[in-house]
Symmetry: C2
Subunit: 218 residues, 2 copies
């Protein structure tokens, strides 16, 4: 089984590594690929992981997992990425995303008419791609599975593992990675968090994006 995780500079590490940790245990091979092989840096610049092959070397994966990150916005108008996604989706068994990775699937036209999720800050953006946004954590629609923000990739990958190798196998993986989460706070979703916190994060992100647009002169 060829499981491919395409990465790009400024991707969010946990979006990719959560699913990798689960899917590396289903009995196939997980490959990190990028436009060109080599070191790829994460969104905060504090870590680089190595892409072992290029997108061209991964034209017919069984499973593709697209992570998110601040670079996604630029990639949604990059024909190399969009063509690659359409290409692999044509023959994949499962096409999946974590966090804003779903915007890339959307931009490639793969979410049209489907319910889908993304990071809570970008849910509405999905609408522009003909998808119906939902706040669910993991959304399965035919062979397309989208996951909510960052950490949701672990839940998505366990759901996918159950499809790939059966529930008993997926349960063994969940116990193997001791996934019995006990978050210290009950604030991990927009529904549960203090509305003031949600608003503060929305404002901070808007301000950052405005500053970034000003720097770019757009």
């Amino acid at each position: 089984m060829d499981i491919v995780i395409p990465i790009f500079d400024d991707f969010t590490a946990l979006d990719a590594i959560g699913p990798y940790e689960v899917l590396s245990r289903v009995g196939g091979r997980v490959r990190f690929v990028a436009r060109e092989p080599g070191p790829i840096r994460t969104d905060n610049g504090m870590l680089s992981v190595i892409a072992e092959a290029s997108l061209d070397d991964a034209r017919s994966p069984d499973v593709v997992v697209v992570p998110g990150g601040v670079a996604v916005r630029a990639l949604t108008s990059d024909p190399v990425w969009l063509d690659w996604l359409r290409d692999v989706h044509a023959t994949s068994t499962w096409t999946t995303s974590v966090c804003t990775g779903s915007l890339l699937l959307g931009a490639a036209g793969l979410l049209e008419g489907l319910r889908a999720t993304s990071h809570w800050l970008e849910l509405e953006t999905l609408r522009g791609y003909g998808a119906e946004p939902t706040g669910e954590r993991v959304v399965e629609q035919g062979k397309v599975i989208t996951a909510a923000g960052v950490s949701a990739g672990i839940d998505m990958a366990l759901t996918l593992a159950a499809r790939l190798i059966g529930e008993d196998g997926a349960k063994a993986i969940q116990l193997g990675i001791e996934y019995d989460p006990q978050p210290p706070f009950d604030c991990g979703s927009v529904e549960k968090a203090d509305p003031k916190l949600v608003e503060a994060i929305r404002r901070a992100v808007s301000a950052r994006e405005a500053a970034s647009r000003e720097r770019a002169g757009v």
Copy 2:
């Protein structure tokens, strides 16, 4: 704030990347370090991440997070690693571990007389280092925090984030990474999993270790 994650060939990626994703958001700098800088491969050989500096370049971190992995057993008798751990622990604000990373802390003598946790398969090993094993997911003892297997590093890092920057900041991080876990199964700990599954994993791991010892002629 200098947050250091020491890695080694055959480490478990999520042990390190879970805490990294949380701690990269507390306002300090997270550095991956290794015996020598350069690419370090994970336990399944499917991924390499880059250590940007050597252990020698990280002699006085504020926070150290030690991941686990199959290599840990060898490192527990490696004086370079044990001396480094003792050294950084002498001046650290927080010394932490995920999964079998606690065995390294134990081997360095840092858990003597403390309650501590580890991956459920290795809990009893802690006793040999003078620690009192506990099945709790995150165990805080003075400035030492140990976490259970693999995914528990996320819970540990959020707990630590609350100590470093306060609860409001930690809650913002938890919402930012949308950590509202919904595992598809309720089997992520020894207490919750089917005893047959637990036994099957114990047997498989014992068989693998016996085969490995036979190959090594010990």
